[in-house]
C-alpha cells in the first residue's frame, strides 16, 4: 500500500513537479483556446457553405467536412509537423498542432452546426424572408439562435474532446501538460507527476462533463 502511494501519489514529488506542470497546463489552455475559437468560427462558416445552394462551395465544404472527420488527428498532426517539411514547409510545434487540430476540429464543429441548422423548421426561414429579412439577417436572427441552443451539449462535448486531443501534441515535443508531466516523470523516476497531470485534466473536464450530461437529461425530459 505504501509502495503504491509512493509510486503514484508522492506528495513531495507532486509539489516539486507542480510549477512545470502548471506551465504545461497554460500551454494546453492556450492551445485549446486557439483551436476551439478558430474551430467554432471555421466550423460555422463550413456549415453555412455546406448548406448553401451554390454548387461548388457546397461540395467543397461537404468534402472537407467528411475528409477531416475521417482522418485520425494524430496522422494529420504528424503529417503537418514531419511531412510538410519535405515540401519545404517547416512549422513550429505550436503552429503545427494548431493547424492539424483546427482541420480536424472545424470539421467536427461544422457537422454539429449543420445538424443544428437543419433541425430548425423551414417555416421559420420562410416567415422571416416573407417579412423582408435578407438571407443573412434570417440566418443571424432567426435560424442560428435556436440552432445553437439545440446543439449546445454537442458543442460542449466537442470542446471536451479538443482538450483531450491536445495531449497528442506531446508527440511533437510541444511542452503542454502531458509532455511536461512526462518530463517530470523521467527526471524524478516516479509516476506521480503523471497522476497529477491526470488530476489536472480531471479538474477542468469533470465539471464540463457534468454540465453536459445534466443538460442532455434536461433536454430529454423536455
Amino acid at each position: 500500500m505504501n509502495m503504491f502511494l509512493a509510486t503514484f501519489f508522492d506528495i513531495n514529488i507532486m509539489m516539486q513537479a507542480l510549477p512545470l506542470l502548471l506551465k504545461g497546463a497554460v500551454t494546453t489552455l492556450k492551445l485549446c483556446a486557439v483551436v476551439i475559437i478558430c474551430g467554432l468560427f471555421g466550423g460555422l462558416m463550413l456549415a453555412l457553405r455546406a448548406l448553401s445552394p451554390r454548387g461548388w462551395l457546397r461540395w467543397g465544404s461537404v468534402i472537407y467536412i467528411d475528409l477531416f472527420r475521417a482522418i485520425p488527428p494524430l496522422v494529420l498532426l504528424i503529417f503537418v509537423y514531419s511531412g510538410l517539411p519535405f515540401a519545404g514547409l517547416e512549422l513550429a510545434p505550436f503552429s503545427a498542432v494548431v493547424i492539424a487540430f483546427f482541420m480536424n476540429n472545424s470539421a467536427y464543429f461544422a457537422e454539429v452546426f449543420r445538424a443544428g441548422i437543419n433541425a430548425v423548421p423551414k417555416g421559420q426561414t420562410e416567415a422571416a424572408r416573407a417579412t423582408g429579412l435578407s438571407p443573412t439577417q434570417t440566418m443571424i436572427h432567426v435560424v442560428l439562435p435556436p440552432a445553437i441552443r439545440n446543439v449546445l451539449p454537442d458543442l460542449l462535448s466537442n470542446t471536451v474532446e479538443v482538450v483531450k486531443l491536445t495531449s497528442l501534441a506531446s508527440v511533437v515535443s510541444l511542452s503542454e501538460l502531458l509532455y511536461s508531466a512526462n518530463m517530470a516523470r523521467s527526471v524524478t523516476y516516479n509516476a506521480s507527476p503523471l497522476v497529477l497531470a491526470a488530476l489536472l485534466y480531471l479538474a477542468v473536464l469533470w465539471p464540463l462533463v457534468r454540465i453536459i450530461s445534466r443538460y442532455q437529461r434536461g433536454l430529454a425530459v423536455k
Binding site: 423548421p121 417555416g123 421559420q124 420562410e126 416567415a127 422571416a128 424572408r129 416573407a130 417579412t131 423582408g132 429579412l133 435578407s134 439577417q137 436572427h141 432567426v142 439562435p145 435556436p146 441552443r149
Partner: protein, 252 residues
C-alpha cells in the same frame, strides 16, 4: 369597391415543379380594400399561388403586379424590399420561439424596414393591442395558445404596413374554439381597409366578410363571384361537387 384600383393583379400565372404543372393559367385581381377568398380542394395550387405573390416560389411564367409594380421580373437583390409590401400569414404561425412576442413583432421593422428600436416597439405594442395581446408582449410564443400565436403572426406582418396581406389557411391548425378570435382580427383588418387574399375553409367567414370568392381547381380559377352567388348558385360541376363535399364543415 369596383371604383378602386387593383392592388394585386395576377396575369396568366403558370408554375411548374419539374414535370408537374401546378398552376396552369391563373388570372386574378384584388382591388384596394377588397377581401378575396380562395377555396378549392387540397392540392389545387392555392398555397403555390399565394407563395408566388411574394416570390417564396418563383413563377414559371406570367406576371404579378403589386400596387401597379410588376414584381415578377425584379432582380433577386430587390426581393426583400418588395416583400415588405406583401404580408403573409401561414397555417403554422412560425413565430420565432427564442424571442418574446414583442421582439417577434419588432424584428423585421428594425432590420428590414429600418425603423428605430423605439419606433418599432411603439408600433409593435400598438399592433399587439389591436389583436388583443398587449398583455402578452413579454411572453414567449410557447406560452401562447395557437389562436394567440396566429394573432401575433398577423401583428408581425401588419406592423410592416404592407399593401396586401396573404393568408394561407390561417385557422386550419387551430382548435375550433380558437378560430373565432383570429377571424375577428381579420375582420377588423378588413374594416381598416387592408387588401386581403385569404385561402381558407371557413365558409361562414367568407359569406360574412368576403367581397368575392374564387374557386380554384386543378391549377385554374374555375369560377368566381360574390359569396352568395358562388355558394348559393354554383355554375360549374366541379364547384358543385366541391361544395357538397365540404358542406358538412361549411355548416359547422
Amino acid at each position: 369597391m369596383s371604383q378602386h384600383r387593383a392592388m394585386l393583379e395576377i396575369h396568366a400565372l403558370e408554375k411548374r415543379f419539374g414535370q408537374t404543372e401546378v398552376l396552369k393559367n391563373i388570372d386574378l385581381k384584388v382591388r384596394e380594400g377588397e377581401l378575396v377568398f380562395v377555396i378549392g380542394p387540397s392540392g389545387s395550387g392555392k398555397s403555390t399561388m399565394l407563395r408566388c405573390c411574394n416570390r417564396l416560389e418563383e413563377p414559371t411564367s406570367g406576371a404579378i403586379m403589386i400596387d401597379g409594380a410588376r414584381i415578377t421580373d425584379i432582380p433577386r437583390r430587390d426581393l426583400d424590399k418588395m416583400r415588405l409590401k406583401v404580408g403573409m400569414v401561414f397555417q403554422g404561425f412560425h413565430l420565432y420561439p427564442h424571442m418574446t412576442v414583442l421582439k417577434n413583432v419588432m424584428l423585421a421593422q428594425v432590420k428590414a424596414l429600418g425603423r428605430s428600436k423605439a419606433e418599432a416597439e411603439a408600433r409593435a405594442l400598438d399592433m399587439l393591442d389591436q389583436v388583443g395581446l398587449k398583455h402578452k408582449a413579454d411572453a414567449r410564443p410557447s406560452e401562447l395558445s395557437g389562436g394567440q400565436q396566429q394573432r401575433v403572426a398577423i401583428a408581425r406582418a401588419v406592423a410592416l404596413d404592407p399593401k396586401v396581406m396573404l393568408f394561407d389557411e390561417p385557422t386550419s391548425a387551430l382548435d375550433p374554439e380558437l378560430v373565432g378570435s383570429v377571424l375577428n382580427v381579420m375582420k377588423d383588418l378588413r374594416q381598416k381597409g387592408m387588401t386581403m387574399l385569404v385561402v381558407s375553409h371557413e365558409m361562414a367567414f367568407a359569406r360574412e366578410a368576403a367581397d368575392r370568392v374564387v374557386f380554384m381547381d386543378g391549377g385554374y380559377v374555375v369560377e368566381q363571384g360574390p359569396p352568395e352567388e358562388v355558394f348559393g348558385n354554383p355554375k360549374s360541376e366541379r364547384l358543385k361537387a366541391f361544395l357538397s363535399r365540404v358542406s358538412g364543415t361549411a355548416a359547422a
